[in-house]
C-alpha cells in the first residue's frame, strides 16, 4: 500500500485519505473511493497492506487518475 500512496501523492495531487472505521477513504476531485483495504488492523498497518494490480487499476479508473501517470509507478499495471 505504501507504493499506492506514493502513486496517489504523485498522480492525484491534493487528494485526501483517511482510515475510516470500516474502510480506507480516498477523495479526489469530488470522487470518493472506498475500495482499497485499510489493512488487517487499520492505523499504521495500512501501509503494509498488500494490494493487487486489479485493485489499483480499479482505484485509478474510479478516481479518474491519469493511467499513464499510474503506470510510471506500476509498470505492468
Amino acid at each position: 500500500m505504501a507504493a499506492v500512496f506514493a502513486m496517489l501523492d504523485d498522480c492525484a495531487r491534493g487528494h485526501t485519505r483517511r482510515i475510516g472505521t470500516h474502510r480506507l477513504v480516498v477523495t479526489w476531485r469530488g470522487q470518493t473511493y472506498m475500495g482499497l483495504p485499510k489493512g488487517p488492523g487499520g492505523g499504521a498497518d495500512v501501509a503494509s497492506a498488500v494490494v493487487a494490480h486489479a485493485e489499483i487499476r480499479k482505484a485509478v479508473r474510479m478516481l479518474g487518475i491519469d493511467p499513464e501517470c499510474a503506470r510510471r509507478h506500476f509498470g505492468n499495471l
Binding site: R23, M34, G35, M62
Partner: protein, 161 residues
C-alpha cells in the same frame, strides 16, 4: 479471459446512534479471471473489486466489502437523508470500463462461447435487462424518539378508575 456477467440483489440494515436505514437494491458485477485469480468487480456500483478462488467465492468477498462500504458511509453521514444521498452517489458511480466487459461477457454467453465454472452453472438466471437500482428507507429514529427513564405516575390510573 474467462468472465461472467452477474446480477446481485442485496439488503442491508444499518443502525447507529443517529439513524437507522434499510438499504436494498440490485447491482451488476463482473466475475473475471485475471492476474491468476478470480475477481468480482463492481460495474454499478463500480467502486470495489474483490478476489476469490472461484467466481462465487469472489462475490462473497465483494458482498462483504459492499456491506463495509455501506457502514463506512453511515459513519460519515449526519442524518438518514444525508446517508441516502451518499449511498445513491456511491451506488450510481458506474465503472464504464467494466460495463463494457460485462456486455462483452454477456455476448459471449449468448453465443455460447463461455464454458461455465461449476459454481456459476448452479446460479439462478436473471434477465440481463434488469437495471441496477438502490432504495433506502429509514428514520432519524433516535432523535425522534430519545430513550428516557420515567417514574410511573399513579394519577392517570386513579383518573381511569
Amino acid at each position: 479471459m474467462q468472465a461472467f456477467p452477474l446480477i446481485f440483489r442485496f439488503s442491508v440494515v444499518v443502525v447507529n446512534e443517529r439513524f437507522r436505514a434499510h438499504v436494498r437494491g440490485t447491482g451488476h458485477a463482473l466475475a473475471a479471471y485475471e492476474d491468476g485469480q478470480w475477481w468480482c468487480s463492481g460495474v454499478e456500483p463500480g467502486g470495489l473489486t474483490e478476489p476469490g478462488t472461484s467466481p462465487v467465492d469472489a462475490y462473497l468477498g465483494f458482498r462483504k466489502t459492499l456491506g463495509e462500504i455501506f457502514e463506512q458511509i453511515a459513519d460519515d453521514s449526519h442524518t438518514v437523508e444525508d446517508y441516502a444521498r451518499r449511498v445513491g452517489q456511491f451506488f450510481l458511480h458506474a465503472d464504464s470500463h467494466d460495463r463494457q466487459r460485462w456486455q462483452d461477457a454477456l455476448e459471449s454467453l449468448h453465443r455460447r462461447e463461455s464454458s461455465l465454472t461449476e459454481d456459476v452453472a448452479k446460479l439462478p438466471r436473471q434477465a440481463a435487462a434488469t437495471r441496477p437500482q438502490v432504495e433506502i428507507e429509514g428514520a432519524n429514529a433516535f432523535s425522534e424518539q430519545p430513550e428516557t427513564l420515567s417514574l410511573a405516575d399513579p394519577e392517570p390510573l386513579s383518573k381511569a378508575a
